[in-house]
């Protein structure tokens, strides 16, 4: 029995064999293992439903027989019939409900698994694996698997049962004729197998095209303002149409295969009908087979063909689900960046970088960086665009890790701190604004350990009090990234408040003041001194004036530390620094 073999193979393989090379082949059947009980119950229900369905003609037949024999009792027939009908009603309804629950639960659990996995991954992983693809994984891919559980699986299993049963019956009636008929099963099986293999590839490609569709849509929405300023809606539509065309062509390719598969299965099944007619007819004519057996054979054949056709129709769903499940397990089986840190001592704020280098796509971003910062001091990093300043801050936040060298806080490599402790002591204000679509309170008290008191202090320090007071819903106002309600400077100050709300020991500012006006900026710096006196401050900035009195200034150019010292020292010792300083001097008068 081909399908039974495929099935058992499939189950077998899932238990034992991790395939030799390449990425592990994921098996969509394996995924059902934890739901064994539910699945078994479903199959039993399906078979029971089908079985009772067969009873109805029997009851009618018996009633007619009884009637013609003259001992027909209406009441009994009515009762039997009624019981059967109600039983079918209840069984099918329950089967459907359980099927719904099973498939939705599979989907929900898979989503949880994938999201939990993603949440444990590193920032680099998210960037590399492309958020658009992860979105498809969590939505369309899981939907395909859900569809498999909801529709295909039970039909597949019960079809296999029916095929097996019918084959046995056929063999019992006339084994020679049965063999001739059953020979269609391997023919159909191998056609199915061949086409299925191709289908799987196409479905996988289809999913990848959906990824790119997502990307185009995503970018066209994120960049909607730019597109409208440049009036480039037309090229955007072209870009979308191009990807959409690929999607359609792939869909048509799948269709071509499918439109070949189904007619072949139907035709081969019909061949069996002809075979029975010709060969069985021969047996009957020759007298080796009774007419009754012949008739029975014919009707059983119909019972055999229907489930084969069903499997054919389900192949679409199965191929799609197995392609999708492969993609999902790729995510689930990706190596994790495991939490290695164990140290939970509080950080004082001494920072030491020793020979830190960072590569990005094999090109050096940071080269052999070394410097130290004393706890409680203020340090500024200045340097031209693309000098590697932001990446340096990313390193200090454990968002990325260096290719070589070590970063130590209080003499301990930062990798050795637990993430929880580490991140609760480092406040990072990103260069670009990241605002979540939720209330201002939730945006600022983003870490849930933030107390009301530290929230208030952070808001006051970031000079947001007046702004928040002016809002109708105050802190409970819902804000959003692309919302029009916030100006660039307001967003940046919300980011600052978010970093301060955790009461950090170390505060990293990435070009924080770029969108905040002078007056507010000096107020904020003053507030910082007053409200967070022990803070170790590391600020990436363009402007020298506000940082002139900082204890240390580091000049970073093309990934290298060019000079380190105080403003006074650098002005004398570093020509590059002096040049930058002079470029800002003309406006010095207005800087306060």
């Amino acid at each position: 029995m081909y399908f039974a073999k495929v099935l058992s193979d499939v189950m077998q393989r899932s238990k034992t064999k991790p395939t030799t090379t390449g990425p592990k082949k994921a098996n969509v059947f394996r995924m059902l293992k934890p739901y064994g009980g539910m699945v078994a119950f479903l199959v039993v229900m399906a078979l029971l439903g089908n079985g009772i369905n067969l009873l109805i003609p029997k009851i009618i037949g018996r009633a007619i027989d009884a009637f013609s024999a003259g001992h027909f009792i209406m009441k009994v027939v009515l009762l039997e019939f009624f019981i059967a009908a109600v039983a079918i009603f209840i069984i099918t309804y329950f089967q459907n409900i359980i099927q719904t629950y099973a498939s939705e639960r599979v989907a929900k659990n898979l989503r949880s698994q994938v999201s939990a996995k993603i949440s444990r991954q590193s920032y680099t992983y998210i960037l590399r694996s492309n958020p658009s693809k992860l979105l498809t994984n969590l939505t369309s891919d899981i939907d395909s698997v859900k569809m498999f559980v909801a529709q295909a699986f039970v039909i597949l299993i019960s079809s296999v049962f029916v095929i097996l049963g019918t084959c046995t019956l056929l063999i019992l009636i006339n084994w020679k004729l049965a063999l001739a008929v059953i020979s269609i099963v391997p023919i159909i099986g191998s056609t199915f197998f061949l086409i299925f293999r191709k289908l799987r590839v196409l479905f996988r490609r289809g999913r990848e095209i959906i990824d790119s569709l997502n990307k185009v849509i995503n970018e066209s929405i994120m960049g909607s303002a730019l597109i409208r300023v440049l009036n480039s809606q037309q090229p955007e539509s072209m870009k979308f149409m191009e990807t959409n065309t690929r999607s359609r062509d792939n869909g048509l390719a799948i269709l071509r295969l499918f439109a070949t598969l189904i007619p072949i299965i139907m035709f081969v099944s019909n061949l069996a009908v002809v075979t029975i007619l010709a060969l069985g007819g021969h047996y009957v004519v020759a007298g080796t087979m009774s007419l009754g057996d012949f008739a029975a054979f014919n009707s059983y054949l119909m019972m055999l063909i229907f489930p084969i056709l069903m499997i054919g129709f389900m192949s679409n769903i199965i191929a799609q689900a197995s392609a999708s499940y492969q993609r999902i397990s790729d995510v689930l089986e990706a190596p994790e960046t495991s939490e290695t840190g164990t140290i939970i001592t509080q950080i004082k704020g001494d920072i030491l970088l020793k020979n830190v280098s960072l590569l990005y796509d094999d090109k050096p971003i940071l080269k052999d960086i070394s410097f130290s910062i004393k706890a409680g001091s203020r340090t500024a990093i200045i340097g031209p665009t693309a000098a590697g300043k932001s990446q340096l801050l990313y390193l200090l936040t454990k968002l990325i890790s260096p290719n070589s060298g070590s970063i130590e806080f209080d003499g301990i490599n930062i990798a050795e701190y637990t993430n929880e402790l580490f991140h609760s002591q480092i406040g990072f204000v990103f260069q670009d604004s990241v605002i979540f679509n939720m209330s201002l309170r939730e945006n600022i008290a983003f870490n849930d350990k933030v107390t009301n008191e530290s929230l208030e202090k952070a808001i006051a320090t970031a000079e947001l009090t007046d702004f928040i007071e002016s809002l109708p819903d105050k802190l409970d106002t819902i804000v959003s990234e692309r919302g029009t309600s916030l100006s660039g400077g307001q967003k940046q100050r919300i980011m600052l408040a978010r970093a301060l709300a955790i009461n950090p020991k170390i505060l990293l500012l990435d070009d924080f003041t770029s969108r905040v006006d002078q007056k507010t900026e000096s107020k904020i710096l003053c507030n910082l001194d007053k409200n967070y006196p022990d803070l170790t401050l590391l600020s990436v900035t363009q402007k020298i004036a506000p940082i002139r009195h900082f204890e240390q200034i580091i000049l970073l150019m093309e990934g290298e530390v060019i000079a380190t010292g105080t403003h006074k020292e650098l002005k004398e010792s570093s020509p590059e620094y002096a040049q930058i300083y002079n470029s800002q001097r003309s406006t010095h008068y207005y800087e306060l």
């Binding site: 009637f67 979105l135 409208r228 539509s237 012949f294 990241v434 978010r498 070009d511 470029s583």
Partner: protein, 587 residues
């Protein structure tokens, strides 16, 4: 116009009949009508062939096998074989045609949706979440497609078979036929009553899918903050909540969808029961024969089997309609930025003129109040003021990302609304505060929206860049023009993004160039370079510079101070500085 798809106004929520929805949908696939008709023809041929096959088998058994004429058996086996070969091809054609219609419909539906998105103003995107829109374009269209490519033909086929069987039943014995069909009436009423509820549940399920998608999209896009603030649990929690809601709604929809099948099956069985008991009664009355009853019962199943099939299809149909509702919600939106006839009621000699402009964002407070100012050709203007004062809003109005609430904006004395988007974007260049890059290369991003240069090769383009004095800016990119840009520009710094945005805008040679904090994250040395480049722009180019850094505005011909809904002309740089220092911060 209200652009929030998840909070539709009452007017937009008005009920549209299923029929009207269907008609609108069919309008989208107008050119497929021929294919649909052909496919329908193929289905009819197919059904006939299959019935004929069954009949031929019966005939052969009756006339040849029973009478043991093997020759006749072989002849009819041959005929049957030919018939099945024909069926094979018809089958193939039918599937190809119908599937093709489905795929092409999905294609046009997605295109129509995406093009509609392109027509809509920025306002729309401010009010809707990316993930939800993606879900509508990908998921909901797919639901519609699933019905069309997989179920529609079966649907029609079932209805045909049912109609045929029904007429047949009535013609054999009208009384018995009527009785046999009576449960179908109950099914009809049941379907009529239950369908809106089923559709409603499916709509809720699709909505929660959109919500889930939005949640995922937002979290993934902001992942660095989630890591830096050690809120990996935040992602999980938010996601779990959405996931759980999605689960509940999907189960509810699934249960609703599954209500048809058991009821339809019950109706089919009751139909048979009625025929059996009434048939026996009629026989006892002497009006019917046992043989006729037996065949009548067989025909009854011909009527009720397709009805059961319809049960499954009808649920699919409800899902598709719910999806189509969500799609047509977008398709029915219109842009609120129409091009109007130029009405020369107000004359203005200046290049750009704001006349009593008042502006408020939807559901927001007033940002500009009766603002008037004029800009002349070839001059450089600086707009300064505290954060949240209205500078970006003013710039957005110049680029017509929004229309004014009251008052007019004139370009060369003509209402800004009378310019076509092509004309407007040629005149006005706007470097946005938040630079946006498309994934691809630096080259593609610099040339974005500048088709004139598309055909240039890298050398020719470099030449153009040199002419514009931009070549030194390329040095900030490791592989120059071919430097790769990842999705949404992650991996390159904000300063670099601003450089690309700057080059993109300058190469387009606009008549009016707005720089909205366009160089805020660029170091002062490079910034001086940018100043030089701006100075080299043609004499007639008007510059509007929005900045905090005073050095970027000290060369301005005129300075405007923007705050608390007002745009005030500052006499001199020191005036502006005074205002900056002493005006109360509104925000």
């Amino acid at each position: 116009m209200n652009y929030n798809l998840n909070k539709p106004s009452d007017k937009q929520e008005q009920k549209v009949s299923t029929f009207a929805l269907m008609r609108k949908l069919l309008g989208l696939i107008g050119e497929e009508r021929r294919n649909l008709i052909l496919a329908l023809g193929a289905i009819l041929v197919n059904a006939t062939l299959s019935l004929l096959g069954t009949y031929l088998v019966g005939h052969t058994i009756d006339t040849y096998i029973q009478t043991k004429q093997y020759h006749g058996v072989l002849v009819f086996a041959g005929i049957l074989l030919t018939l099945y070969i024909v069926a094979f091809f018809v089958n193939f054609i039918q599937m190809r045609l119908m599937g093709g219609v489905g795929q092409r419909m999905l294609f046009s539906l997605r295109n129509a949706l995406f093009n509609k998105l392109q027509e809509l103003p920025v306002d729309f995107f401010n009010q809707n979440k990316v993930g939800d829109l993606i879900s509508r374009i990908n998921n909901d269209t797919d639901k519609v497609n699933q019905f069309f490519s997989q179920s529609l033909m079966q649907f029609l086929g079932s209805i045909f078979t049912m109609l045929g069987a029904g007429i047949f039943l009535l013609s054999i014995n009208f009384q018995l036929g009527l009785a046999a069909l009576s449960p179908a009436l109950i099914v009809y009423v049941f379907t009529k009553i239950v369908s809106p509820w089923v559709k409603h549940r499916n709509a809720a399920s699709l909505k929660s899918t959109g919500y889930l998608s939005a949640e995922i999209q937002e979290s993934l896009a902001n992942f660095k903050v989630i890591i830096a603030f050690d809120r990996r649990d935040y992602f999980r929690k938010r996601f779990e909540a959405a996931n759980k809601q999605n689960y509940t709604k999907s189960v509810q929809a699934g249960i609703a969808n599954n209500i048809f099948m058991p009821v339809y099956t019950l109706a089919a069985n009751i139909g048979q029961l009625i025929v059996l008991s009434l048939g026996i009664y009629l026989i006892l009355q002497g009006n019917f024969t046992l043989g006729l009853l037996i065949s009548f019962i067989a025909y009854v199943s011909n009527f009720y089997n397709p009805l059961r099939q319809l049960a499954a299809l009808w649920a699919n149909f409800q899902v598709a309609m719910a999806g189509w509702d969500r799609i047509s919600q977008i398709l029915s939106l219109e842009t609120n930025l129409h091009v109007v006839e130029s009405t020369k009621t107000i004359t203005s000699t200046s290049f750009l003129s704001f006349q009593n402009v008042t502006f408020k964002y939807p559901n927001g407070k007033e940002v500009l109040h009766k603002v008037s100012f004029d800009l002349e050709r070839g001059k450089t203007y600086a707009f300064v003021g505290p954060t949240g004062g209205g500078k970006t809003t003013t710039a957005s109005l110049i680029a017509r990302l929004y229309d004014t609430t009251k008052g007019t904006i004139l370009i060369d004395g003509n209402d800004i609304r009378s310019y076509t988007p092509e004309e407007r974007s040629r005149i006005i260049g706007f470097i946005l505060q938040e630079p946006f890059l498309f994934s691809g290369t630096v080259r593609e991003n610099i040339l974005y929206g500048n088709p004139e240069y598309y055909k240039l090769n890298n050398e020719q383009l470099t030449e153009e860049i040199k002419n514009a004095g931009l070549e030194s800016l390329l040095e900030h990119f490791a592989q120059g023009l071919d430097t790769k840009i990842q999705t949404t520009g992650d991996g390159i710094s904000l300063g670099q993004k601003q450089l690309i945005a700057f080059m993109r805008a300058v190469l387009r040679k606009p008549e009016l160039l707005i720089l909205d904090e366009a160089t805020a994250n660029i170091d002062t040395m490079t910034e001086q370079l940018l100043d030089e480049i701006l100075k080299k722009l043609p004499e007639s180019t008007t510059l509007v510079i929005i900045a905090h850094r005073l050095n970027t505005i000290e060369n301005a011909d005129d300075i405007f101070f923007v705050n608390t809904g007002k745009v005030i002309h500052a006499g001199s740089l020191s005036d502006a500085v005074n205002m900056l220092l002493h005006e109360k911060n509104e925000s």
